[in-house]
């Protein structure tokens, strides 16, 4: 799959024609709060199976709001979100979420936290999945520790394992590494891609770290604020692993930075970039 087929959500008839049907479709989504503040306006996005999309933008541009609507935690004011053709009104079994904070349950040990969302499995299946996940994130020997005994990075790894272990089709990550130091972050990027490599869930990653977005994502979508809208898309491409010092990588970071910079200027002064960098939504 390439980054060129990333336009407005195709209608049902078109979906049948294309080989890759988007697993996540956001259609004209908007959110206005009770006090009249418009947080999101006319968001359109479709994400294909196995794709990793990063959402970047200045603070307050509605990244987290968008993610919460997709997760079914909040209700949209207009438009809809579909996962596998089902309209999202509440949290969906195929959608996993990792929050900015680990949000582990302090009264459960590490293994029970990882297995918290596993339902309908026999005891041995349940154990097997949890142990497998713990081994892959390198915390097998900490299985019976309490969350408070872990470092911040370890806690976030447990939270990521908790989301992966249910094998979701779509995984929403809300700045999951923002509270961690740079070394831990690098380490967790590798672990995330490791876990992703098995079932290849679709990932929508909210981040304010452009380097992170370019390292992990197939394409980076820039949001602009007041009200939150999707702006430009920068296609990074599916090749992995990424070399952070490669010219291509640095070039991509520069392009995202430039797009971010433009997104913060008033819409009137907005000059589109070269066609391949231009977003198709606004």
């Amino acid at each position: 799959m390439t980054g060129e087929t990333l336009h407005h959500a195709p209608g049902p008839s078109l979906q049948l024609l294309t080989q890759e049907i988007p697993v996540l479709i956001v259609d004209d989504l908007s959110k206005t709060y009770a006090d009249g503040t418009q947080a999101l306006a006319g968001i359109n996005l479709s994400v294909h199976p196995g794709e990793i999309v990063a959402l970047v933008g200045g603070s307050g541009c509605g990244k987290t709001t968008l993610l919460r609507l997709i997760a079914g935690l909040d209700q949209a004011s207009g438009g809809c979100v579909q996962v596998d053709g089902e309209t999202i009104r509440e949290p969906h079994p195929d959608v996993g979420v990792v929050f900015q904070e680990a949000r582990l349950l302090p009264w459960l040990d590490v293994a029970d936290n990882v297995g918290f969302g596993l339902a309908g499995l026999t005891g041995s299946e349940h154990r097997g999945r949890v142990v497998g996940a713990l081994e892959r994130i390198g915390l097998a020997e900490h299985a019976d520790r309490w969350p408070r005994e872990l470092s911040g990075g370890q806690q976030q790894r447990v939270a990521i394992a908790r989301a992966f272990v249910t094998i979701p089709r779509v995984l929403l990550l809300d700045e999951p590494f923002s509270a961690l130091d740079a070394f831990t972050r690098r380490d967790l990027h590798d672990q995330l891609l490791n876990l992703w490599g098995e079932a290849k869930p679709t990932i929508l990653l909210v981040t304010h770290d452009v380097g992170e977005a370019v390292t992990l994502a197939d394409r980076v979508v820039v949001m602009r604020p007041r009200p939150g809208r999707l702006d430009e898309t920068i296609v990074i491409g599916p090749a992995r692993p990424r070399d952070p010092v490669a010219a291509h990588h640095e070039n991509a970071v520069r392009r995202v930075m430039a797009a971010l910079d433009r997104s913060l200027r008033p819409a009137a002064a907005h000059q589109p970039l070269a066609p391949e960098d231009r977003a198709t939504w606004w």
Partner: protein, 256 residues
């Protein structure tokens, strides 16, 4: 060893006082008529125990505390849970309950005697009232302060209402509930004395009144000693029974 040393240090003061008092009375330095020496208190305790009276009195008191505690705790947990989860009920009930909480519980004694006589009912009720408030405040406060972020984790994994209550709310409110129960148990012992002072034919409070009316200070001190032992023991039982439930919280304290 280290803990044994700490316990030993805590015993130094009471033992020194007891021995000092014993020594001062023996040669007639002080009379000991109003405060008998430890040896006489010990003898009184042994007499009471040998006759079976002690067991009867302790039993009577513990049954009252136990019943009052169970009623007060049960109603406190129920009311606290309902008031914290149903806003309408909170606006309806909480102001009145907070006002009642401000009433010193002993002020109920005359009314309870008028209403229920002087048998077991008013005693258990008074203890239950004393236990109710700390449990109610503990439970309702704990539920109100459960982290919304953890509830969202439950929503993401699509827990049912019951699942959310059992797997997130209950464990989250347990520590504060146990603190409320512990405070309530302490107050239960406070109020059992008041209840038994208002008229009883058995119980440790009866021993106190009896000792005062018949001039038996040794019996009064013996009863006080029993109160200390029974209260401490009940607290220990509660803590031991509930420790496994809050083990996740206690790790740091236990490693110190």
């Amino acid at each position: 060893m280290r803990q044994g040393g700490r316990v030993g240090l805590g015993l130094v003061l009471p033992l020194a006082l007891a021995i000092g008092w014993e020594i001062a009375i023996d040669p007639g330095l002080v009379s000991g008529r109003l405060l008998p020496p430890p040896s006489r208190i010990g003898a009184t305790l042994l007499d009471l125990a040998a006759s079976g009276d002690l067991l009867m009195h302790v039993q009577a008191t513990l049954i009252r505390v136990g019943l009052g505690f169970l009623w007060g705790a049960a109603v406190g947990i129920l009311a606290g849970g309902l008031v914290a989860t149903l806003p309408t009920l909170r606006w309806l009930l909480d102001p009145s309950l907070q006002a009642l909480r401000a009433v010193p519980s002993l002020a109920w004694v005359p009314l309870f005697i008028l209403w229920f006589g002087i048998l077991e009912t008013p005693k258990v009720l008074l203890i239950a009232v004393g236990v109710f408030f700390p449990v109610y405040v503990g439970v309702s406060g704990a539920i109100a302060s459960v982290d919304r972020k953890l509830i969202e984790v439950g929503r993401i994994f699509r827990l049912s209402r019951f699942g959310l209550a059992r797997r997130i709310l209950l464990p989250a409110v347990l520590p504060a509930t146990l603190v409320g129960l512990r405070t309530g148990l302490g107050l239960g012992f406070l109020f059992v004395v008041a209840a038994e002072l208002m008229g009883a034919s058995e119980g440790l409070g009866y021993l106190l009144v009896d000792g005062q009316q018949f001039g038996k200070p040794d019996q009064i001190v013996a009863a006080i000693f029993d109160f200390a032992a029974a209260g401490k023991l009940a607290d220990l039982v509660l803590m031991t029974l509930t420790r496994p439930l809050t083990r996740w919280q206690d790790t740091e304290r236990e490693s110190l």
